[in-house]
């Protein structure tokens, strides 16, 4: 039986269907999870998709953090459940304090939508194990508040512990400190990423298929551990 990967839909989620599709293309079973339901329905991993949960009111991800599903998810993530937060999902993970730092308005003030080159810096996480260390990939980036910030001590800690998962190459699109595009927690089961791997999983619809390995990584790790 293929692993079951939950995809949470909040009011204002945008990329939940693409995330579910990416899970299926990678060979997993996608399970729809609802923000108002605190039951994770026994899934083996969870994707928090991109979008504008609660209209981005207050701060991006600030209200979603208190949704019923998040209480269960935070506990499960602390227990080792693999969780990938993409874009708005990354913002929610930071607001939930599952990941350090915060995402702030792009330094240009423009909403950025482009195919972005990244370097995968860390392959020890559950979501990046199928990449080669230092591999360069191109996947879509689309955000208005994607500038990763944290204090210098936190940034040094992330760098020192190898927790920077992906870094922007060629151009820093949003003013992220140290060109950080994605980070992981200490254990490596929780990853937040500003660009969108779920939009780059097949030739017809994406700039590449470079994003697929995020999803195959978690599925392979689940199969290996079962």
């Amino acid at each position: 039986m293929s692993p079951r990967v939950g995809v949470v839909t909040f009011p204002g989620s945008l990329d939940d269907r693409d995330a579910a599709r990416a899970v299926r293309i990678a060979g997993g079973e996608a399970v729809a999870l609802w923000h108002g339901d605190d039951d994770l329905h026994g899934v083996d991993a969870v994707v928090l998709p991109g979008g504008f949960s609660y209209g981005d009111y207050l701060r991006c991800g600030a209200i979603a953090r208190f949704a019923p599903v998040m209480a269960s998810l935070v506990d499960a993530a602390k227990g080792g459940l693999p969780v990938l937060g993409i874009c708005n999902g990354f913002q929610i993970l930071c607001e939930s304090h599952l990941l350090p730092g915060a995402l702030t308005r792009n330094d240009s003030l423009h909403f950025i939508c482009r195919d972005q080159r990244l370097r995968i810096e860390d392959t020890s996480s559950t979501w990046t194990a199928d990449y080669a260390a230092g591999q360069e990939i191109v996947i879509p980036l689309k955000n208005g508040e994607g500038g990763f910030v944290a204090d210098e001590r936190t940034l040094d800690m992330l760098e020192g512990e190898g927790r920077v998962v992906a870094r922007y190459l060629e151009v820093n699109p949003n003013g992220s400190r140290r060109d950080i595009a994605g980070i992981r927690n200490e254990r490596g089961n929780v990853v937040g990423l500003m660009p969108h791997p779920e939009h780059a999983v097949e030739e017809l619809t994406g700039p590449s298929t470079d994003g697929l390995a995020f999803f195959t990584s978690v599925l392979n790790s689940l199969v290996a551990s079962s």
Partner: protein
């Protein structure tokens, strides 16, 4: 009735691109010597009854955990005792 006013500002070390854009506009509109602009948020919350004890503590906690993000923002909270007076 109590009125709670919470001001939330980005921490000084966090870049404020919106404030910078406003600073540029002020200069273009003829205001000289604008050294800095920071943009923040203000929440005005009217609460029935007196805000004391546990409810006041909860209000403080929510100002820190919901209304602001301590990673990037500072908040300042004032409790004004009578909303009828301050509303005028």
């Amino acid at each position: 009735m109590a009125r709670v006013v919470v001001d939330v500002m980005l921490k000084p070390e966090i870049l404020d691109p919106q404030g910078r854009a406003v600073q540029g506009a002020l200069g273009r509109l003829g205001l000289t010597g604008v050294a800095d602009v920071r943009q923040g948020k203000q929440f005005v919350i009217d609460i029935e009854g007196d805000l004391e004890g546990e409810r006041l503590e909860l209000m403080h906690r929510l100002a820190e955990e919901l209304l602001s993000n301590p990673v990037i923002e500072d908040y300042r909270m004032q409790v004004l005792p009578d909303a009828q007076d301050v509303a005028q």
